[in-house]
């Protein structure tokens, strides 16, 4: 019965009533048609409100629009209908208030680790000495002390991801948007970086919106998991993950954790079946 309490499934009402860091209220977004004659509906009437300081994951089958929704929050996509809101103000474009970590390697290969982490600070006009100081702190926090002068191509994929995390945290955004950041890493590195990210989040308590394919990852990291369905992209359900924090490696072996992951898996399978064949 403890299981029942940890999972409040809510299919109709997706609003959470604390002051939201990010919100969308009935946005719609169309992609321009490539071959089809009609514009393609990727996000259909999305309502979502994300409270400050929470860790929210977006999961769902391919084509459900989770990455599109994330890019809408980043300001990299302006929705066809409506606007996303950051602390109540409409989002009209990308800027340093909405930091983003991408699945691809986005660390600049022509800058060394130190200069990469300084980039956002430099764009904000911070002076050289202060900038170097802040960057050094974050490099140390992600465990890359001693690699300041290294170029990205001399680092492993996991280390480059750490540089990326340090860079986005150093520029001090209001919210952090992560688009499958660990999707291209090997399994061991991924587990380590998940713990690393949790530690950073527990220290800074910055709002994180995290897109992933990996349901274990979503349950392990999040306060809330938003499940989206495809064609058209829409929110299908919201799971509140009441597993106590701090979460550590042992958490993954608890009955509560495995039951939640299992439950999510079942729902996604059902969504893919009802969408007429899975994308796998």
């Amino acid at each position: 019965m403890a299981l029942k309490n940890s999972m409040k499934i809510d299919h109709s009402e997706t609003t959470i009533d604390w002051a939201p860091a990010l919100s969308v209220d009935g946005i719609r977004h169309y992609f321009s048609p490539t071959h089809a004659e009609r514009p393609f509906l990727v996000l259909d009437d999305i309502n979502l409100s994300i409270p400050k300081g929470s860790f929210v994951s977006l999961v769902g089958p391919s084509g459900c629009g989770k990455s599109t929704l994330l890019r809408v929050f980043a300001g990299l996509i302006i929705p066809t209908i409506g606007r996303a809101m950051l602390s109540g103000e409409p989002i009209e474009g990308p800027n340093e208030r909405k930091g983003m970590v991408f699945q691809e390697d986005a660390v600049f290969p022509w800058l060394n680790v130190q200069k990469n982490v300084e980039f956002g600070l430099q764009m904000r006009g911070m002076g050289g000495r202060e900038r170097a100081e802040v960057a050094r702190e974050w490099i140390e926090l992600v465990g890359l002390k001693g690699f300041e002068k290294s170029y990205p191509r001399e680092l492993s994929g996991g280390m480059r991801k750490r540089v990326d995390l340090a860079r986005v945290y150093a520029s001090n955004p209001e919210v952090l948007l992560m688009d499958e950041p660990f999707g291209a890493l090997d399994a061991l590195t991924k587990l380590r970086l998940q713990d690393e990210l949790l530690r950073l989040w527990e220290q800074s308590r910055k709002t994180v919106v995290f897109v992933t394919h990996d349901l274990d990852e979503a349950v392990y990291l999040s306060d809330t998991v938003v499940v989206m369905a495809a064609r058209p992209g829409r929110i299908s359900s919201v799971y509140h993950i009441d597993i106590p924090r701090p979460r550590r490696f042992e958490t993954r072996a608890t009955e509560q954790f495995t039951a939640l992951a299992h439950r999510l898996w079942g729902e996604i399978e059902k969504l893919e079946a009802s969408a007429g064949g899975s994308s796998l």
Partner: protein
């Protein structure tokens, strides 16, 4: 029933392994590592020696074949000057300063034309490769100009500007521009969008995305363009001097033909080749140094 029983009693092969203890054979391993390192270094230097000696060998063979041909009784020394004549001509040319003068005149022209042409190509090429609207505006013009060799503009340039120094530099600048801009534009179009998006979400303005992200990201391509257009500039220079100049290596080629002194032609050819080779080697070294971060720096 018996069959099943037989299968059950069959022994299964098992994986066997010896676990590596922490400190086994440390000294021995170190010696092996040193030995392996020595072997690798030896292999690398042997490879390098082979490369250099084969390069020298091919030069020696070419010279030797030439020597043999000139020594044949049927060979005409006016058309194929013997190596001794060429060396004497070279020494004389250095002593009276005429070779130095010709080289200096050519290098001055190519430097001016190359720098102007590449500078314009980098500015125009990066803007038209990055900003789509500028691309729409300029692509037809640039793409229609590219198939026409820069030398084909010489008659027009002479009509407009006469046969002065400016005209020659203009043609060389044009040749550099046409071959450089292709790579620059391609490089700007190949910039991974994720870099630009990452910079935007770190607070970079569009101007900063262009200057601090797109241009550095395209640098390997820009360098490739600089190397290609150096060859084009050098080649065009010689051709331009063949047609309209009273100094320079191209003029030396033409004078050698006019005065029937074939050794001058061969000396000029060797100098042109050598300088072209040295300039490319210089750019290559610069590229390796500046683009250490890139996997294309080689």
């Amino acid at each position: 029933m018996t069959l099943i029983a037989v299968q059950k009693t069959e022994p299964q092969p098992r994986v066997t392994a010896r676990l590596n203890a922490e400190a086994t054979g440390r000294a021995e391993a170190q010696a092996q590592e040193a030995e392996a390192g020595r072997k690798f270094r030896e292999q690398a230097s042997a490879k390098r020696r082979l490369q250099v000696s084969l390069g020298i060998l091919s030069l020696v063979i070419v010279v030797a074949i030439y020597w043999i041909i000139t020594a044949l009784p049927s060979s005409n020394p006016a058309l194929l000057p013997p190596p001794g004549v060429i060396v004497r001509g070279f020494v004389n040319g250095i002593l009276d300063g005429s070779l130095f003068e010709a080289t200096q005149a050519s290098l001055g022209r190519v430097a001016a034309g190359y720098v102007i042409g590449c500078a314009v190509a980098i500015v125009v090429g990066s803007i038209r490769g990055w900003y789509r609207i500028v691309g729409y505006l300029l692509d037809p013009v640039v793409d229609a100009m590219r198939p026409v060799p820069a030398l084909a503009y010489i008659p027009l340039v002479i009509l407009w500007f006469g046969i002065g120094e400016g005209a020659r530099i203009l043609v060389i600048a044009f040749a550099s521009f046409l071959s450089c801009i292709v790579s620059v534009t391609a490089g700007m179009k190949e910039v991974p969008i994720v870099y630009a998006d990452a910079a935007r979400t770190l607070g970079a303005s569009e101007r900063m995305v262009f200057l601090r992200v797109a241009i550095p990201s395209a640098l390997p391509y820009i360098f490739a363009g600089l190397r290609v257009s150096l060859g084009a500039a050098w080649g065009t220079l010689v051709a331009a001097e063949l047609i309209a100049a009273q100094s320079g290596l191209g003029y030396l080629l033409q004078a050698g033909q006019a005065f029937f002194r074939s050794e001058l032609v061969i000396i000029a050819l060797v100098i042109i080749g050598l300088i072209g080779y040295l300039m490319d080697a210089f750019l290559k070294a610069l590229q390796t140094r500046l683009l250490r971060w890139s996997s294309r720096s080689g």
